[in-house]
Subunit: 439 residues, 2 copies
């Protein structure tokens, strides 16, 4: 079987490329050339039937990932399946199944059955958890077990994986020479791999045997997302030397993997202050040759716990604007506890809004929806307005909960409505549509 990138390079427009082109109003040939260049990826494991086709990368609508998963403390497959369904309902584009408690094969399989979204994971979680259970020491991880596990997980139908190939002994040396971090280490897979390398003195097998990782991914046409294992967990660590050393290798591997015909993404931070977000995106795009960039927000403050879905939304709007292609949501429970279903819903909503705001800035020629919404609001066509809102049900409910006397207005201003008054004064001036006069 050929991967999407291999097909594209052979000049073939696959069913998936056709679908992405149709969904996003592109000429299929443009999608093909960008897939061939590795600027667009389409996660689509053939073992997964009925999976939604989603394109991620240059020129496309910025996508949203939402993650779920058990922990050793809270471990209910039923809850995680319910969260996965809620995430799909709320309109996320991809899902990561990141369980680290209970029966890890079973939760993955149940989640894969419950949704149509492309599902990804971080194989190191199960690798270290099961090794820990067996030997009471995750550093006893056998690389052969890890590679077998990756294949087993892929065969279940995962369409992308965050794998920490970019951490090597050279990067760990940078971390030690740096001698300091305000926020320590924040990536679970990355940190446990560093611990393994520290305990064994060996090179990271995912780095050393990178070609083998690519071969596995290619077999299932899964997208390899190069994990950000050294990402900053504090804005004071943002863009420190250790993190940049890993980014260089991840970008190098993105190119090497692409050359082998594997679909590649790079994963980004993490905690980054607002004034450094643009630079972060530029670096990834430049060093990787425009590999799709999957960013975890970023989170531009360390002190928002309880409202970190908003912290992250603020970072995500900016990263989206400057070129991030896939944004991982953050829930209000981040930094505090395992999220509930209500938390994951809030997380998806905040991220949807952030990505919409970022895309408005990223693609100034695609503001059609805002234009139609504004005119409907101006003309007090509430039903039309709802068609264009991101959260029509919530908006309708809020307005109805405090209904106005005059159905054209709302209870915020009642009979003192600027919109209504403005329409009266300028009825001969302010009307119709300047951009599309016939519309």
């Amino acid at each position: 079987m050929k991967t999407q990138i291999e097909l594209a390079r052979d000049g073939i427009i696959s069913r998936q490329m056709e679908q992405v082109a149709a969904d996003e109003n592109f000429n299929p040939e443009i999608i093909r050339t960008r897939v061939a260049a590795g600027e667009i990826v389409i996660p689509c494991n053939p073992n997964r039937t009925n999976q939604k086709v989603v394109g991620i990368g240059t020129g496309l609508r910025t996508k949203i990932n939402a993650s779920i998963g058990t922990s050793s403390d809270i471990c209910s497959i039923e809850n995680e399946v319910q969260k996965a369904i809620a995430i799909e309902e709320e309109g996320a584009d991809t899902l990561m199944e990141l369980s680290a408690g209970g029966n890890l094969d079973k939760v993955r399989q149940e989640v894969l059955k419950a949704v149509n979204l492309p599902v990804g994971n971080v194989p190191l979680y199960q690798a270290f958890k099961e090794t820990g259970r067996k030997y009471n020491d995750p550093s006893k991880l056998d690389p052969e077990f890890l590679f077998d596990l990756i294949e087993r997980q892929l065969s279940d139908g995962l369409s992308f994986m965050a794998i920490h190939c970019g951490i090597n002994q050279y990067t760990i040396e940078r971390l030690r020479k740096q001698g300091f971090r305000y926020g320590g280490l924040a990536s679970k897979g990355g940190t446990f791999m560093v611990a393994w390398m520290d305990a064994t003195g060996k090179e990271n097998p995912l780095y050393e045997q990178f070609d083998r990782v690519c071969t596995l991914m290619k077999k299932y046409d899964a997208v390899l997302s190069l994990g950000n294992g050294i990402r900053a967990g504090a804005i004071h660590d943002s863009h420190d030397r250790a993190q940049m050393a890993e980014m260089i290798i991840n970008c190098e591997l993105a190119e090497l993997g692409r050359e082998q015909g594997c679909q590649m993404m790079v994963e980004g931070p993490g905690h980054v202050p607002l004034d450094e977000i643009q630079a972060n995106i530029i670096l990834e795009k430049r060093m990787s040759g425009n590999a799709p960039y999957y960013v975890l927000g970023p989170i531009p403050a360390d002190t928002g716990a309880g409202y970190d879905h908003i912290t992250s939304a603020i970072g995500a709007a900016s990263s989206t604007w400057h070129g991030a292609d896939l944004i991982c949501y953050i829930t209000p429970a981040e930094h505090l506890a395992l999220p509930t279903e209500a938390d994951v819903r809030e997380g998806v909503r905040a991220t949807k809004l952030a990505v919409r705001i970022g895309d408005i800035a990223k693609y100034p020629d695609r503001r059609e929806n805002e234009r139609l919404a504004s005119m409907a609001r101006r003309d007090m066509r509430w039903d039309d307005l709802e068609q264009h809102l991101l959260f029509p049900d919530i908006a309708r409910k809020t307005r109805a909960s405090r209904a106005p006397e005059d159905g054209g207005t709302c209870t915020m201003c009642g009979d003192f409505c600027a919109m209504k008054k403005g329409n009266e004064i300028f009825k001969d001036d302010i009307k119709n549509d300047k951009i599309a006069p016939g519309a």
Copy 2:
């Protein structure tokens, strides 16, 4: 009585300037020179006893305003007082009392009694509402009644007022020549003034008799915030010619008012896409000679209704970063209904977080709090961490609602905690504080 700006120009450091300097760790002389230059304002009507002193402007922590007020549809003084108290509890810096329903003198007076925050309003609301009640036509507004009303309101203890002095017939001509707006008009005071000018054919008395407005404001040392009456209500109208024509006049009046010894601010939009926010701030700062800029978000999308506190937070983080000095919150009810107490609490919280994120970017040398929070998180000192969080009670409650087995971690990762593992590996490397080694 001399105003703060007059005192500062006489070389006097007032009690209020001392207080601002102490609160924000500045040398009082720096505060004095910035007040003298009109770059910092301190709203402080002497008729108001026990008012909190708040400085707004260059170099200071970016401040948050929260607005309340009745409408013709929902009109309970008790509710508005309760919201005002909630807003003060949540940590807003100023309050605007924007009632447009019921007994407008009484609600203002009750709110002024209920809180210690500086309180502002928009005098045109009461002016047009009471004229409308009397003559069944707000355009019968008598300018003499308006000026008397402004003084009556000021004598109650208001410390700042948004007054729409910058709208003139020239600007309305720009609006008509433009012939089109996607979002119509969004400012209540501004739109009803435009209607008055349209009906009477006269010049805006607040523009024509600007010196008289300044004289009134000076008498109570209130800050004159030049209202953004032509602001865009849709991102497609952002920075249109009509809006910029008003901004030019508002910035001109900021300078003229300052020269007369009146404390001045300029009010900004409104709906502005993310990629235009920085330009908006630069223009205001440049054209006004760095008058404090009071921005209503801005709101970088037209379609977030139901979650517009987050839409606005995303805009506010950016406007704060680029130099806005006072940010008006938006509640989840914006564009839909009069906010409840729960809505105003959410609005203040989202804005606090946005302004924190913006200030981190605006003042890279003032990230102390994030630094201490990060180290506490890294070292699993949860009690210390809480001291530095913006929402300690909410964070504590979330964590406790799903308590971990190991008190050092949380239920997100349980025994698979990156922070804990990282601390083990790098215990000799990652420790203490690089910036302040002795701390």
